[in-house]
C-alpha cells in the first residue's frame, strides 16, 4: 500500500506545473535559420521526433543560439525546451559535457544537480522514477551532442535514434 501511495505522488512529480509550462510554451521552438548544427533525433517506439539547431559564434566554438523543433510527448517537448536554455552560451566541449551529465543524472548514474541558470530543470527529476519515460527526456540532449560530434567531424545532418531500454511494445 505504501508503494502504491508513493506511485501516486510520483505521477504528480512527473507532470509538474513547470514542465507543463515548457510543454505549452516551449522556448526556442521552430527552425533556427543559419544554424551550423542541424540534427535530427528520433524515438521510433514513442514517435517522438525532434530537430535540434545550434548557431555558433564567429570563432565556431560557442553556441550562440540553440533551438529545436518537432513533435513529442510532454516530457520530450519540455525537456527539449529546457535543453535550449541550458546549452545557450556554452562552448561545444561544455555542451557535450552537459549532455553527458544530464543523461547520467536521468539514469541515476550521477546526483541530480540543477544548474542555477536553469532552475526549471528541477522539474525533470521526477521523470527518473518512470524508467520508460527517461528516453523521452534525454532525446534532445543526446541529439545535440551527436550534432556537435558530427559538426566537429565536418559533417552535417545525421539522425540520432534514442534506443528504448524497456520495450513496451510486446504484443
Amino acid at each position: 500500500m505504501q508503494d502504491a501511495h508513493n506511485e501516486e505522488k510520483n505521477l504528480d512529480q512527473l507532470y509538474r506545473d513547470v514542465l507543463f509550462e515548457h510543454y505549452r510554451r516551449p522556448h526556442h521552438k521552430g527552425e533556427l535559420a543559419g544554424a551550423e548544427i542541424v540534427t535530427k533525433g528520433n524515438n521510433p517506439v514513442c514517435g517522438d521526433k525532434v530537430t535540434v539547431y545550434g548557431k555558433l559564434d564567429a570563432q565556431g566554438e560557442r553556441l550562440e543560439e540553440v533551438g529545436f523543433d518537432g513533435k513529442g510527448c510532454a516530457i520530450c517537448i519540455a525537456s527539449s525546451s529546457m535543453m535550449t536554455e541550458t546549452m545557450r552560451g556554452k562552448t561545444l566541449a561544455e555542451a557535450s559535457a552537459a549532455s553527458d551529465k544530464f543523461k547520467a543524472m536521468m539514469r541515476n548514474e550521477a546526483a541530480f544537480e540543477v544548474p542555477p541558470e536553469v532552475p526549471d530543470l528541477e522539474a525533470l527529476e521526477g521523470v527518473k522514477k518512470f524508467p520508460v519515460r527517461v528516453k523521452c527526456a534525454t532525446l534532445a540532449w543526446t541529439t545535440l551532442k551527436n550534432g556537435i560530434l558530427a559538426y566537429q567531424a565536418g559533417k552535417t545532418g545525421g539522425e540520432t535514434v534514442e534506443a528504448c531500454e524497456t520495450n513496451t511494445e510486446k504484443e
Binding site: M1, Y15, P44, G47, C73, A74, E169, K170, E171
Partner: protein
C-alpha cells in the same frame, strides 16, 4: 464494405454474460492499485488475464504430473504425455480442425507465422513469387516475409485500407489477377482497428487463384467462434496467452496435406525418427515441428482455458463484446477532441479501441490513465505501417474481453476527461 462475411454459424440464441461475475474468476482483477483504486484492465489485446482454473491446472501439473513427454516409460512421463496430447485434441475440437495432428504447438503466434514462412514458403516459393499482406498487419505477419524477401527474392505487397479501416479487397483481386501470388497472409482481426476481416470470402478468392492463405488469428480466436473448416484458410496462427491461457505457448493450425510437405524449422530432440552421425529423418507432423522439450505445463493451462471458454460459450463472448463495442463507441463520442480509429459498425468490429487526442501524445494519455487505475497500451502496437496510414506514430489502445464491464468503459471515459483537463 466487407461485412459480406456470412455468419459461419446459424443464428442462435446467446446467453448474456455478466462480466462482473466472470471477473470473480480472475484473481488478479480483485486487487487495488495506486492507493486503493480499482484496477480497470483494458489491455487484453496485449494479453488476457487468467482465471484461477488455468493457474490451478498449471500448479497441479507441477505438483502431480511433472515429467518430460513422449520418451519416458514411467508413470509421470505417461501422465505428462497424456496432458500434452489431450490438450492438442481439446484444441482441435475448439477450432474444429480436421485432425488433432493439425495442431502444432509453438512458442507463440510469432513462431507459428515464422514456421509457415520458413517451413513452407522457403521451400516452395522462388524469386519473383508474391506474398500479399495488408496495411493493418502486426509485425509478426510482416517481418517473416521480409526475411524471405531478402533471402529468396520473394516480393511482398500490401493491400491498402478503406477510410473506415476495412481491407480494399479489390486490390487483392488485382494482385491475384497478376498470376504471381503464391501466398496471401492476413490478420483475421486487426489488433489496432478491431476490424474483423471476411476470412471465408477471402479464402475463396485466394484458392481460386491457386494460392495459399495464411491467417493471423491472434485477436480472433479469443473473441469470436472460430471454425477453421468453414473459414477455409490453409494455415491459422494464434497464441494461448490472449485466450486466458499461459504465455510461452502458441498454435499453428495447418491442413495436414500442407504440413506433411513442410520441412522442419527447428531441429533437435523429439522431432526425429532416426539419427545417425551424418543424417536424420523426421517424425510425421505435428511432432516434426516440435523440437526440444515443449511447454508442457502450459498445455495443461491451455486445456483449462479452452474449457473455460467453451463453458462460457464463444458465441456468448462475441455477443457480449459486440454490445460493448456499441456502448464504447457511443461513450467515447462524448469525449471532446478524441479521435477513435476503426470501423463504426459493431458487426465487423472486435472490442479494440485505438484512439488519439489532438495534441496530446499517446504516452502522456496512457500515463495519466494509469494514474487513474485504467490500464491501456500506448505506442505503435507492433503495427508501424498502419500507424503511418493513421498519420500518427503512436496511439493509445483500450481492449476488452469477457470480464470487461460497461463500468470499466465508464471508468475509461472518466479518466480520459481527467487527461483532457490536465492538458487543457
Amino acid at each position: 464494405m466487407s461485412n459480406t462475411q456470412k455468419a459461419a454459424a446459424p443464428a442462435r440464441e446467446t446467453i448474456a454474460l455478466d462480466p462482473r461475475r466472470v471477473a470473480q474468476d480472475f484473481p488478479i482483477l480483485k486487487q487495488k492499485i495506486h492507493n486503493g483504486k480499482r484496477l480497470v484492465y483494458l489491455d487484453s489485446g496485449a494479453t488476457s488475464q487468467k482465471p484461477f482454473t488455468v493457474i490451478d491446472a498449471m500448479n497441479e501439473y507441477y505438483h502431480v504430473s511433472n515429467a518430460n513427454v513422449h520418451r519416458g516409460l514411467h508413470v509421470l512421463a505417461e501422465r505428462a504425455t497424456e496432458i500434452y496430447e489431450c490438450a492438442r485434441t481439446r484444441m482441435h475440437f475448439f477450432i474444429n480442425a480436421y485432425l488433432p495432428g493439425e495442431i502444432v504447438w509453438t512458442k507463440n503466434a510469432t513462431e507459428a507465422m515464422n514456421l509457415v514462412a520458413h517451413g513452407y514458403a522457403r521451400k516452395f516459393l522462388k524469386a519473383g513469387d508474391e506474398v500479399i499482406v495488408s496495411r493493418m498487419e502486426h509485425h509478426a505477419n510482416l517481418v517473416p516475409w521480409h526475411l524471405l524477401a531478402k533471402d529468396k527474392g520473394v516480393v511482398v505487397k500490401g493491400i491498402e485500407l478503406n477510410a473506415d479501416g476495412t481491407l480494399r479487397l479489390e486490390e487483392l483481386d488485382a494482385f491475384l489477377k497478376g498470376g504471381k501470388v503464391k501466398i496471401v497472409a492476413l490478420t483475421h482481426v486487426s489488433n489496432v482497428l478491431g476490424t474483423i476481416n471476411p476470412i471465408a470470402e477471402i479464402a475463396k478468392k485466394v484458392h481460386d487463384a491457386g494460392a495459399i492463405f495464411v491467417v493471423d488469428g491472434c485477436q480472433a480466436v479469443p473473441h469470436l467462434p472460430v471454425n477453421v473448416q468453414t473459414l477455409g484458410a490453409d494455415f491459422y496462427a494464434f497464441s494461448a496467452h490472449k485466450m486466458l491461457g499461459p504465455t510461452g505457448l502458441g498454435v499453428l493450425w495447418g491442413r495436414m496435406s500442407l504440413l506433411e510437405k513442410m520441412d522442419p524449422f527447428l531441429g533437435g530432440g523429439e522431432m526425429i525418427e532416426e539419427v545417425t552421425i551424418s543424417s536424420s529423418t523426421y517424425k510425421e507432423p505435428p511432432g516434426r515441428f516440435e523440437a526440444g522439450t515443449p511447454p508442457i505445463a502450459e498445455t495443461a493451462g491451455m486445456t483449462a482455458a479452452v474449457e473455460y471458454l467453451m463453458k462460457t460459450g464463444m458465441a456468448n463472448i462475441r455477443a457480449h463484446e459486440k454490445e460493448l463495442v456499441s456502448y464504447t463507441l457511443e461513450r467515447l463520442k462524448s469525449v471532446k477532441h478524441l479521435k477513435v480509429f476503426g470501423p463504426a459498425n459493431p458487426e465487423i468490429r472486435a472490442g479494440v479501441f485505438a484512439f488519439e487526442f489532438e495534441d496530446i501524445h499517446a504516452h502522456d494519455v496512457a500515463q495519466i490513465l494509469d494514474g487513474e487505475g485504467v490500464a491501456v497500451r500506448a505506442g505503435h502496437h507492433c503495427a508501424q505501417p498502419l500507424h503511418e496510414w493513421l498519420g500518427s506514430p503512436s496511439t493509445a489502445r483500450a481492449s476488452a474481453y469477457l470480464y470487461t464491464a460497461k463500468e470499466d468503459i465508464d471508468a475509461l471515459v472518466k479518466a480520459l476527461e481527467t487527461v483532457r483537463k490536465k492538458f487543457a
